[in-house]
Symmetry: C2
Subunit: 78 residues, 2 copies
């Protein structure tokens, strides 16, 4: 059964508040050599078959899994 | 500058409520051939240098980025 990994990130120019908070927290824990932190979502989907799988993944991402206005995504099929 | 990608997932046996909700929503949108959905976090960190980078990533993950009781993680350094 094909396993799909989807990585969702905020688009460039969208403020990543969670990333900024983690960056600050890392700094106060003494990790001074981190320049940037970005936070996204990681989805793993198991499909029953790989019929039209690329097309289905793209539609799912646009309809439900991501917010195309503020988010980008990439995916891998294994 | 090294870029680190960290993938955080729930440990086996921990109920993935968000994954279950997305699975159900996909079903009601007509995507019937998805068997399982798991939701995790995806973090991108930019480091200034790669001194002790593996050790630092592991410590950060245990201290702040993940909850080791319920979450697992893997990472890649680019």
């Amino acid at each position: 059964m094909p396993k799909v990994k989807i990585y969702v990130t905020l688009r460039d120019g969208i403020l990543d508040v969670q990333g900024k908070m983690i960056h600050r927290a890392l700094g106060s824990l003494g990790y001074e050599n981190v320049d940037e932190v970005k936070v996204g979502k990681y989805l793993q989907l198991e499909f029953e078959d790989d019929a039209d799988i690329d097309q289905k993944i793209k539609k799912m991402c646009e309809q439900l899994l991501t917010n195309p206005v503020i988010e980008d995504y990439t995916y891998e099929v294994e």
